[in-house]
């Protein structure tokens, strides 16, 4: 009987033999991450433990992304403590404006195919796009990794999801993850790993694949793994990652569920206000007014998202009464977007661009608090009531294409119906 990718990667890191779903293993962790929303307690705890040395701390990145820039003294002081810790122990540190943890870890070459990576953030599933087992943990876990280089894991059962064809122009990985949320419900894959496969995945650029793995967190997934191909290997090489050790699933691996999605026919999807699994096709809600459009976050703040938005807004203006903020996921993306002239296009259209960070995802920087009865269309990952600071506002979730098309018209709009909505990077 064969093994899933999750069983193989966890087994490889726990003695070498593939593990079995349900088993508990103690595995060597290749890289870990702790961000500023969780660092305060963990760094205090680890100092208090007074370990003589932290031999694995140089493989633990500290990322200042949630409070970027810090909105209050407490957050600023957490940043001071994180910088001092990194100086003392030699951990890599990504400072305010460098970007979101899930973007800067791959860009920094910190992970490769076959790796086991943990981070203090549910969206650590993002690393699965690179064929690495990435999963979210807490401060105690990362403290244990800093001390011992190891962590315990229950080997998850896996759901195999086949995407049967290349997405249409104007349709993105976000529309697939929203479809999955509509199908399984929020937390519908609790404890499980996902494996995405098929022609739909093969056709996707890396940016889109990262969305696929990232947004699996809302399904409750422990990991969301893709097999590596030439695009994966080339991307990792370009970012200075260690030699990839690609891991494939066996043909006779055991899955708890198999799902097939006819991605070639999939229309754009949105999650309606307050519930990420209240998902409908965009054509069903065209006409819904919006006042705020947000592009950013670890789910959809990447270069292709910004390129798509610029393709739609080039030479045009936002609809009257609409405000739009674009928050690149990292400094590298920010620089690339500047060089390509995308910010000039977006700024001329009436949008604002903010420093890279988690900014527009949740009201912790206070950068965007929606007003009463305002409707936000966002490329973020969650939309529960009050997430942007006002329970009397609504947050709808869609792809960057849907956000930009809606910003242009002032109503939720199918990107396939506007000029530039069919933009796609050459594969």
């Amino acid at each position: 009987m064969g093994h899933t990718i999750a069983e193989k990667i966890l087994g490889n890191h726990a003695g070498g033999k593939p593990a079995r779903a349900g088993e508990i293993v103690v595995a060597d962790v290749d890289f870990s991450m702790i961000h500023d929303a969780r660092a305060g307690n963990a760094l205090k705890m680890i100092e208090k433990l007074g370990a003589d040395s932290l031999p694995h701390v140089t493989r633990t990145a500290l990322v200042l992304d949630h409070y970027s820039p810090p909105p209050n003294m407490e957050a600023a002081n957490v940043h001071v403590a994180m910088r001092a810790f990194a100086d003392k122990y030699g951990s890599p540190l990504y400072d305010v404006g460098d970007g979101i943890c899930h973007q800067v870890l791959p860009e920094g070459g910190h992970l490769t195919c076959g790796d086991l990576v943990v981070g203090t953030d549910t969206h650590s599933t993002t690393y699965g796009a690179f064929n690495a087992f990435g999963t979210g943990v807490e401060g105690t876990d990362v403290s244990a990794v800093m001390m011992t280089g190891k962590l315990w894991f229950r080997v998850p059962e896996t759901i195999r999801i086949e995407l049967q064809g290349a997405l249409q122009p104007g349709v993105w990985a976000k529309d697939v993850t929203l479809t999955m949320l509509g199908k399984l419900g929020a937390e519908g894959a609790n404890y499980r790993a996902l494996e995405y496969c098929g022609a739909g995945v093969a056709a996707m650029a890396i940016d889109d694949r990262m969305t696929l793995s990232n947004h699996a967190a809302e399904l409750g997934a422990k990991a969301a793994l893709l097999e590596a191909d030439d695009k994966t290997i080339a991307w990792l090489k370009a970012h200075g990652a260690a030699t990839p050790k690609p891991v494939k699933a066996d043909a006779d691996a055991t899955y708890v569920q198999r799902i097939v999605i006819d991605t070639a026919k999939l229309p754009p999807q949105v999650a309606r206000q307050h519930n990420i699994d209240d998902v409908v096709g965009v054509p069903e809600v065209v006409g819904q007014k919006i006042q705020v459009a947000l592009i950013g976050t670890c789910t959809n703040g990447r270069l292709d998202d910004i390129r798509q938005a610029a393709a739609i807004l080039k030479g045009r203006k936002l609809a009257k009464g609409v405000r739009m903020i674009v928050t690149p996921a990292s400094r590298a993306i920010y620089l690339a977007a500047m060089r390509e002239g995308l910010f000039e296009i977006l700024t001329a259209a009436g949008a604002s661009v903010e420093a890279a960070g988690c900014g527009t995802c949740v009201n912790i920087t206070g950068h965007y608090i929606a007003g009463d009865d305002q409707v936000v269309i966002s490329s973020a990952n969650r939309n529960f009531k009050g997430r942007l600071g006002n329970p009397k506002s609504e947050i709808w979730i869609g792809s960057a294409a849907t956000v930009a098309a809606s910003a242009l018209t002032g109503i939720i709009t199918d990107a396939r119906t506007v000029a530039g909505g069919d933009w796609r990077a050459a594969a």
Binding site: G136, E187, N190
Partner: protein, 170 residues
């Protein structure tokens, strides 16, 4: 690990511990404060009437979403002896074990507030004798028993920095 015996305190399904049992949305409030008010919006007076050694019995997906570790610290302070639910949020389940809180996946049908519950973590059994309920549950793996017995992950590693899970008294 000894048998856990306690009185049942019952909560509903899909409980988000970030919202109901942490300071995530009450910035600046400490564990002691939260322990006096946890789950108040779901069951008024719940924390105030909670006695040390009571067993928390909850519906499916207890602790869903981005669960903060502080929730487990709060429950320790409330005196929670163990938590029984048909399923847990992944991160909460992990946090509970890492912080020395026994969590048992078990059907809770028929268990009512005030019932005397007996839990055998090693044998894999949950009993409410007064209601003729005796349910077999998968025994906790030895590794998890070892972490719970030590009081959590960090105390475990202080005793066993080599992660040697074998030969650890459960």
């Amino acid at each position: 690990m000894k048998l856990i015996k306690g009185s049942a305190r019952v909560l509903g399904e899909e409980i988000n511990t970030d919202v109901h049992c942490s300071s995530k949305y009450l910035p600046g409030k400490d564990t002691a404060y939260i322990a006096l008010h946890a789950f108040e919006q779901l069951a008024p007076g719940f924390a105030g009437a909670f006695n040390k050694g009571d067993v928390l019995v909850a519906g499916k997906n207890f602790g869903i979403n981005s669960s903060r570790e502080q929730a487990v610290h709060v429950m320790h302070r409330m005196g929670v002896a163990a938590i029984i639910a048909p399923s847990f949020g992944r991160q909460f389940f992990r946090n509970a074990i890492n912080n020395g809180m026994p969590v048992i996946e078990c059907d809770i049908d028929g268990i009512t507030a005030g019932d005397a519950i007996e839990i055998d973590l090693i044998g894999g059994r949950v009993e409410v004798a007064a209601r003729n309920i005796a349910r077999a549950v998968p025994p906790l793996p030895a590794a998890v028993q070892a972490l719970l017995a030590a009081g959590g992950l960090i105390p475990f590693l202080q005793q066993h920095p080599d992660w040697n899970l074998k030969g650890v008294a459960a």
